[in-house]
């Protein structure tokens, strides 16, 4: 059973006295496997936040079916199993973080556990700010508190909308570690982040959403794979002619070549030929694209 299953999802925002509304989602089909770390990427205005709100029942779809954890997102029992961090979480400034967490826990129907809440605040790096009012928190600290609220009750599905927004680079590493721990624990992670490198590091599956449609979806390595082409770097002084006759083509930079090999045997045969010609192998990697290039190619824009 997928953690999230969306079929033919359409959302049109209608405004009073206007015949035509704004079509934010135009027939989205998506399935998020349980236990996966799923990243949703796309340009601004692609419909990512509308999609997230639709799978949480915050926005009501105009058409289509949404199933989350095998049930309707409108069902509070289903929502009790979800942790959500909105894009711009508005926190009560006069409260302390333990008070906020205790209130959210109560609204989630959890048994009050002060010690567990404190451990959670410690886990997101807010141990030193327990006595301070939330109003005095930095943007990054607020985001961490939002993450702690999402993690309350060990949810089966974590839906995070820009979780590292405003967090410093060290903090991002900490957040990434927490998210990876959650995925290892078996939690399904659904992440929307404009930081592609962040998504690439955390997620194993990606969907590209643009103009309300899913353009591409699949495992990260499948999307970023460049086919049977490999990038090889040899130590300076390699014989270019011998390498060319062995099937290597110069890639532009000094010592860097491309070679086509459909399997491991073909790749090793080509490398053996190069080594026989006196070339010393320094680096070998599949000629893949990074997420930015994948997004750009899906959008039809040059990276």
């Amino acid at each position: 059973m997928p953690a999230i299953e969306v079929i033919g999802l359409r959302k049109t925002y209608r405004r009073a006295f206007r015949r035509q509304g704004h079509e934010a989602l135009r027939g989205v089909d998506l399935s998020v496997p349980q236990g996966s770390a799923f990243g949703l990427i796309g340009p601004n205005g692609a419909g990512k936040t509308t999609f997230i709100k639709s799978i949480l029942g915050i926005v009501q779809p105009s058409e289509g079916a949404v199933k989350v954890l095998g049930g309707s997102p409108e069902d509070p029992r289903i929502r009790a199993r979800i942790g959500y961090l909105p894009e711009r979480l508005h926190l009560p400034g006069s409260w302390s973080s333990p008070a906020f967490l205790a209130t959210v826990a109560r609204l989630k129907g959890l048994t009050p556990d002060k010690a567990a809440n404190l451990r959670l605040l410690e886990r997101v790096g807010l141990a030193d700010a327990l006595g301070r009012r939330i109003g005095g928190y930095s943007k990054g600290m607020r985001q961490r508190l939002g993450l702690a609220a999402a993690l309350l009750g060990n949810p089966e599905l974590l839906i995070l909308d820009e979780p590292t927004d405003g967090i410093d680079p060290i903090g991002r590493v900490e957040v990434r570690r927490i998210l990876q721990e959650e995925v290892q624990r078996g939690t399904t992670l659904f992440l929307n982040s404009h930081l592609l490198a962040e998504t690439e590091r955390v997620c194993d599956r990606i969907a590209i959403l643009a103009e309300g449609k899913v353009l591409r979806e699949g495992r990260l390595e499948e999307l970023s794979r460049g086919g049977s082409r490999w990038v090889v770097r040899f130590a300076p002084g390699a014989d270019a002619g011998a390498l060319a006759s062995a099937g290597f083509t110069a890639a532009g930079s000094e010592g860097v070549y491309h070679v086509e090999a459909s399997d491991a045997a073909g790749l090793n045969a080509a490398l053996d030929k190069a080594r026989t010609a006196g070339a010393l192998l320094v680096e070998l990697k599949r000629d893949g694209q990074d997420l930015e290039a994948v997004l750009a190619s899906a959008m039809g824009v040059a990276a």
């Binding site: 709100k53 509070p76 929502r79 009560p92 006069s94 209130t103 609204l107 939002g146 839906i159």
Partner: protein
Amino acid sequence: MSGVLGIAGYVLREAAARKFILAFLLGVTGVLVTLSLSLRIEVVDGALAASRLFGEVMDTNILAVDVALRPIFMAAAAIVFYGGILFGIVSCSDFAPSLLSPGRIEHLLALPLRRWHILAGTFLGVMTLAVCAALYGSLGLVLIFGVKTGYWTVGPIISALLACVSFAAVYAVMLTTATVIRSAALCAALGGLTMVAGIIAGYRAKIAPFIEEGLSRELFKAVTLLLPRLSSLAQASMDLAASAPLGVQSLSMLLAGVLVFGLGMLAVGFWWFEGRDY
């Protein structure tokens, strides 16, 4: 139900952090303390013999205590009724808009709550606040005068509760407004308008003859028919506070009218909120 109580707790915690509301509670406490320390009343055989305010002898006739206290309780009831509703409109106008603000409402709607829990909880939280404040002030007044005169009455307390019932109808309008347009100013404005309209509705029979006969008078009658008769309730509240005979024909009908109006407004708000995207 726990969802409703949870949201009510959320609202009360927000209220506790508001300096405006804390200042109001301090002000009420100040008035009660000043009154209890500065007022000396001597009662002989159930009649007011001598009274001193800030040490100065008050020039009063010898009257039975309940008769002497009648104007005081009536004035207090009027202040609690109109002042309380006005203060409630101003101080509670941004509770619902704040709860429905972007970034907060998404978070609440993603929690295991029904949508109506959020509105019902907000309403319950605000009404708890109003009832507590009304009881605090009226109970304080009853205690002070009870201890000083030996005359005990629940009139001012019932009168304060009537003010809360009236405020409930006004707040229902404010809450419904917030679900349509998230603006504290608009909520306060419509709350104020409801209060004024409610006062006019209480005098509709007396005002109607001054309006030109025909469509306009019928329109006035039709519109005011739907509104809660707040001024009539205020009069009843003052009569109850003073333990005087009720001037209104039927208090229960007045209360039923306010209840129907409030529930009707809440039903509109709940219906609108259920279908809204955030």
